[in-house]
């Protein structure tokens, strides 16, 4: 009995060490870019000499400013498409018992299993040769939205799994039109799920490199500019560290907000305690 207990404690100890190791692995590079971004020496910043030069460079660079605006636009456009389709798809799957449900779910999730690079190059050729569309913001939004819809769909599905659709039926019985019913009954309840889906698909398109790169033509976004700078070496581009620090900060902030919303049970995103 005592031996089994000791074994149990040892297993728990090893597992928590592995967990700590994984956090270290995932966050050391993030801590590193944030630390470097406020330092003078990019290569060996010890002892630290703090400066905000990298942020000044970033703020004064018109290239990065244009790229930021393009990334925001791309993220917004893609997130609107994703949230729209994911909302319709998840509601239809959860609300109606149809024999097509399985097939529809597979279609909505299929993009998760196709690599970004493949989506990027195949959309490029499809748009160019078949649809005769040049690479531009619109085609990049669409190509990114294909991937984002799957993520948004998963989030919506998990969040809405417990929604009681009889509320909608009740509204319908009292004569509400479908759109009005959605607006006044469904939407006030499901908006946090839609917000979560929107945030995640925005972040994905905002930060995407491989899909955007092939479908944007010559329009620069933050990831494509960062990719260009990285090719000349990390030490050559202090503003890249400032950018990485800011993007990491923004993503972590978004996740903190989502965590707090879930923690205080404003939304669950499908999570159970």
């Amino acid at each position: 009995m005592a031996a089994a207990g000791a074994g149990h404690v040892a297993t728990k100890g090893v597992a928590s060490l592995l967990l700590g190791g994984l956090y270290l692995f995932l966050y050391a590079p993030i801590a590193y870019v944030i630390y470097i971004s406020v330092n003078k020496d990019l290569i060996w910043p010890f002892p630290p000499q703090f400066t905000l030069e990298a942020y000044e460079l970033l703020a004064n660079s018109s290239t990065y400013k244009d790229a930021l605006w393009n990334s925001v636009l791309l993220g917004l456009g893609s997130a609107i498409i994703c949230t729209f389709f994911a909302t319709m798809g998840s509601i239809s799957i959860l609300k109606y018992r149809s024999r097509w449900r399985g097939l529809i779910a597979i279609v909505y999730l299929a993009p998760l299993f196709i690599a970004d690079l493949l989506v990027g190059i195949s959309s490029l050729l499809f748009n160019r040769q078949v649809l005769d569309l040049p690479g531009n913001m619109g085609s990049a939004m669409i190509a990114n939205a294909v991937h984002g819809t799957s993520f948004a769909f998963l989030i919506m599905l998990a969040q809405l799994a417990r929604y009681d659709w009889r509320l909608d039926d009740a509204a319908m019985v009292f004569g509400a039109r479908p759109l009005r019913c959605f607006w006044e009954v469904t939407l006030p309840i499901i908006w946090p799920a839609m917000l979560g889906a929107f945030i995640i698909s925005f972040i994905l398109a905002f930060n995407n490199l491989e899909i955007s790169f092939y479908n944007l033509g010559a329009i620069p976004t933050l990831p494509t500019i960062a990719w260009g700078s990285l090719r000349f070496g990390l030490s050559q581009s202090p503003e890249l560290f400032a950018l990485a620090a800011l993007v990491n900060g923004a993503v972590l902030l978004a996740f903190t907000v989502m965590y707090l919303l879930m923690r205080y049970r404003i939304v669950s995103f499908g999570h159970r305690d």
Binding site: L18, Y32, I43, I93, W100, V119, V247, F255
Partner: protein, 296 residues
């Protein structure tokens, strides 16, 4: 006429209403995912001339891919790397996900979100970070040299470094997939096994592992597919000679502009991924995995 929409609704029935809502999104995905895939299959049998695709049907692109040893080498290298990375992520993630699901208590949401969050920063900034930490002139090696020690050779422009970089990118998928599976797993079953005299290890092999196999498969596939196609990590962590199948593929759409060959490489990549997904899915038994179809 005034009752137009509601008559329509009544006439449609649940099946019709389902299709009305589900089909637009599905159609969007079919057109803009399947359409491109089908078109690269077609273009892979064409040829390219000065950045233009010529509909001159031939199988030369595939002949090149399967006879020139460099392409075979790249494909093999990417495949082996992807398999090893997926397995490494699997072995590491299982105890971690299990620990969070079983012992995380009220912190488990925080613990798992913190593992998922880094994924969303985007590939390029994450690569920049990990290159700064463990690249040849990264902080780890500089620190070692500063203290008069040898730098760690196996992370200096090697295939191992590429593998670690790819694992860094995609390990969040694995932990999340296994965690979500364990979240729906009834840990009481293990108590029952214990009462009936099963050792913990045996209970794991016969109950926990098979009942969570579906989560494991999803994790494996979600890590394997992007790892197999990785084109950026090898360039920044693997050094000048570490080209992967993905990075050579992307070259066809950049400097050389040989789109037909690039399409054929895309088809090969798609085929390999599909075969792996199909083979993995064959091992899943929905009844045995505790999947009830009732959602989470």
């Amino acid at each position: 006429m005034a009752y137009g929409p509601s008559t329509l609704r009544r006439r449609l029935g649940p099946e019709g209403r389902f299709l009305l809502m589900a089909v637009p999104g599905a159609l969007f995905i079919v057109v803009f995912l399947l359409g491109p895939i089908v078109s690269i299959i077609v273009f892979s049998f064409w040829r390219t001339e000065v950045f233009n695709l010529i509909p001159d049907w031939n199988i030369d692109n595939y002949v090149i891919l399967f006879t020139e040893s460099t392409y075979i080498e790249f494909l093999k290298r990417s495949f082996v790397t992807a398999v090893l990375v997926s397995l490494a992520c699997l072995i590491y993630s299982w105890p971690v996900a299990y620990f969070i699901a079983k012992h995380g208590d009220r912190y488990r949401l925080l613990l798992v979100l913190a593992l998922a969050a880094p994924f969303f920063t985007g590939i390029i900034l994450r690569i920049a970070g990990i290159q700064g930490v463990m690249g040849p002139v990264g902080i780890v090696n500089l620190a070692l040299m500063n203290f008069g020690m040898q730098p760690i050779e196996f992370i200096m422009y090697t295939q191992t470094a590429t593998g670690i970089g790819i694992a860094y990118l995609f390990v969040p998928f694995m932990v999340t997939a296994i965690y979500l599976s364990l979240l729906n797993f009834d840990f009481e079953l293990l108590e029952v096994a214990k009462i009936n005299g099963a050792r913990p290890w045996r209970a794991f092999i016969e109950i926990t592992w098979p009942l969570n196999w579906i989560g494991t498969v999803i994790g494996l596939v979600l890590v394997f597919v992007p790892s197999m196609a990785e084109s950026i990590t090898p360039r920044f962590l693997g050094g000048p000679n570490a080209a992967s199948f993905g990075s050579v593929l992307s070259l066809q759409f950049g400097e050389t502009g040989t789109w037909a060959l690039g399409s054929a490489m895309g088809v090969v990549l798609f085929a390999v991924s599909s075969i792996v997904i199909f083979a993995m899915w064959r091992t899943v038994n929905l009844q045995r995995s505790g999947f009830t179809g009732k959602g989470s």
